[in-house]
Symmetry: C2
Subunit: 327 residues, 2 copies
C-alpha cells in the first residue's frame, strides 16, 4: 500500500524523540568538547530536510548559548575552494544517510570529528519525517547543553507525549482538509523565526510527495514581491505559533487573504489567523524552541493524505532516492 | 504605458554601474574602517531583492578577503531579542529605500555607522532592477577593497560595457521566448554558488511582475525533493555560468529534463545545458564574481516581456509598494 512506511514513521516520532532525550549525557559530552574550543560560530550544513532542520539551529544556538549559527554555504568551500578561517567555528553536519557527497567533503575539509547518531532506526520512506524531527530535537538539545541547560531533555519528553496524544486527531483533521486540495498546483507556505524551519519542511513535503509547487517564504518575504502573485486559486499555508514572531505572521496572513488567497492555518496559534478557510491546530510546546516538533505534524499528515488522494506514493516519490548522490 | 519605468531602469544599469565604479576611493575608505575592526564575520541583512544580492555577498567576502559572510537572521535579534556577540562582526544592511523597518531596527541594535549610497538615482518601478545590480556590484567592490584589490573597479566598468552592448539582443530574444509562457503558472529557477543570487532574483521578478509561482532552488536542492514535482508542464529555468559550480548545474538540468521539464537555459554557459528548449546566453564576465551582473538581464527582460503579454504592470505590481513598511 502506498505510504505505509511514511505513515508508520510519522507515528514513530514520539518514541524516537524520547530515545534522543534519554541521551542527555552524550549531548553534555559533545557540548563540553565544543566549549573547550570557545567557538564564536556554529556552521550548519545539510541539504533538503536536513537544511530545513538547520534553520531551527540558527535560533537554538542564537537564543541559548548566544552563538552565531549559520546555514553555511557548502559550494563556497567545496566547489570554489575558498579558504575561510574556521578556527573559532564548530561544524554541525546534518545528514539522514551520512553519505551526502558534498556534505561529506565539507566535513572532511573542516575536519569535524564528533558523531551523534540520532537513534531513529531505519527510515524507509524516501520522504523524511522522523529523521527531520530528531534532527530538530538534537540541535536544540545540543544548543541547550552548550548553555548548561540539560533539563531541556524533560521538555523534549513532554513534547513527545503531547505529540503522541495529538497525532490521531491531527491525522483525521488533515485528511479532511486535504480532500479539497486534489487539484491545487501551487502554494506558498509562510512562517517566521523559529517556525520558518516548519514552513520549509511542510513546503518540501508537499512538493516531493504531492507534486505541488509549494514555496516556503518568511512572512516578511511574502510582502516583498510574492504577494503580487496571489489570487483565489492560490492557497497560502500559514504556520502560526505562539511566540514573538506571531504578530508578523498574522499580519502577513491578513495581507495574503486580502489578495484573495485561501488560508490554511496550522500551529499552536492557528486560531489567531483571521479568516482562515481551514485550521489544523497543535498543542502549545512548553518551550518555544521545541514548537516545531509539534508544528510540522499537520504538514506531514496533510501531505500523506493528499498524496494518497492523488495515488502518489510518499515512500517512493518519482525521481528520488533515499541517499542523494548526484546533483 | 505598462512597464515604462521598469524597462527604462533596466537600460540605466550600465551607467549606474559605471558611476559606482568611479567611487573606488569611497569603497577603499570604508574598507579601511572595516579593516581596523579586524572582523571575522560579515552580517548581511535585507529583504527581497536586497536579500538576493546578499547571497552574492557570501561568495564575494568568502573568496576575496576570506571572511565568513552570512545572510543574518533579522528576526533572531529584532523579534526574539537574542544577544549575539557582534564585536568581531561588520554589518552590511541592504535596502533600496533605507527605510525597511526591521532592517533599520537591526542596524540600530548593531550600531552600524557607515553609509555607502548606491548613486543609482530614483528607481520608480516597484520591481527592482538597477538597485539590485548596483547592490551586487557594491558588495563585490567592498569585498575587493577589503582584500586590497581596488583594480576590480575596472572589471565592473568592462562588465557594464558588455551589458550595455548585449542588452538589445537579450531583450529581443527574451521577448521571443516569453511568448510561449503566457499560461505558465509555476516554474523552478535553479542556480548554484555565485549564481544562486541570480536564480533568486529571476524567480522574484517572475513572481512579482508576472504572477508566476517561481521558486528558486540550488541545483542540489532540486535533487533533494522538488524534482519529484516536475512534469512536461513545469518549466525549469537554468542559470548556467562558466565557473566551478557549472558541472553540478548541468547535471541538475539533465535530471530535470529527464523528469520531463522544459528547460530555459540562460547565462554565459547556456550552451552547456543539453536539450534546452530555449536559450538566453549572455557575455562571459572577466571575473566570475561579476557574472551575476550580466546573468540577471535575461530574467529581468523576460519578466518585463511576459508581464506585457499578460497585461500586467511591472511598475506597479498588485499589492506591492516601493517601501515595504509592514510585514
Amino acid at each position: 500500500v502506498n505510504g505505509t512506511h511514511y505513515r508508520a514513521e510519522i507515528g514513530e516520532q514520539p518514541a524516537a524523540l524520547r530515545r534522543l532525550a534519554d541521551r542527555a549525557a552524550d549531548f553534555a559530552a559533545v557540548a563540553r568538547r565544543i566549549g573547550e574550543r570557545k567557538p564564536t560560530t556554529v556552521r550548519l550544513v545539510g541539504h533538503g530536510s536536513s537544511d530545513n532542520a538547520a534553520a531551527l539551529g540558527v535560533y537554538a544556538f542564537g537564543l541559548l548559548p548566544h552563538l552565531t549559527a549559520l546555514r553555511d554555504s557548502i559550494s563556497l568551500s567545496v566547489y570554489y575552494g575558498a579558504t575561510v578561517d574556521m578556527s573559532s567555528s564548530v561544524v554541525v553536519a546534518l545528514s539522514q544517510s551520512g553519505q551526502t557527497p558534498d556534505v561529506v567533503q565539507y566535513v572532511e575539509r573542516a575536519r569535524a570529528d564528533a558523531v551523534l547518531p540520532l537513534e531513529v532506526g531505519t527510515e524507509q520512506a524516501v520522504a523524511a519525517t522522523k529523521t527531520y524531527t530528531t534532527q530538530l530535537a538534537a540541535l536544540v538539545l545540543l544548543a541547550a547543553a552548550c548553555s548548561g541547560r540539560l533539563a531541556l531533555a524533560d521538555d523534549v519528553r513532554r513534547v513527545a507525549d503531547n505529540l503522541e496524544e495529538a497525532l490521531p486527531g491531527i491525522a483525521t483533521a488533515a485528511a479532511d482538509v486535504a480532500q479539497s486540495f486534489a487539484f491545487v498546483g501551487r502554494m506558498f507556505v509562510i512562517g517566521r523565526g523559529i517556525e520558518f524551519a516548519t514552513a520549509r519542511e511542510i513546503a518540501l513535503k508537499l512538493t516531493e510527495t504531492c507534486r505541488v509547487a509549494a514555496e516556503p517564504l518568511t512572512a516578511t518575504d511574502l510582502a516583498h514581491g510574492p504577494i503580487a502573485a496571489l489570487d483565489p486559486m492560490f492557497p497560502v499555508w500559514v504556520v502560526a505559533s505562539d511566540d514573538e514572531a506571531l504578530p508578523h505572521v498574522v499580519a502577513a496572513a491578513a495581507r495574503a487573504r486580502g489578495a484573495g488567497a485561501a488560508l490554511i492555518a496550522s500551529g499552536s496559534a492557528a486560531a489567531a489567523v483571521e479568516n482562515a478557510a481551514y485550521r489544523l491546530p497543535v498543542p502549545r510546546a512548553t518551550t518555544p524552541l521545541l514548537a516545531p516538533l509539534l508544528s510540522v505534524a499537520p504538514g506531514q499528515l496533510f501531505a500523506g493524505a493528499l498524496a494518497a488522494a492523488k495515488g502518489l506514493d510518499p515512500d517512493m516519490p518519482v525521481g528520488l532516492t533515499k541517499v542523494t548522490l548526484a546533483g
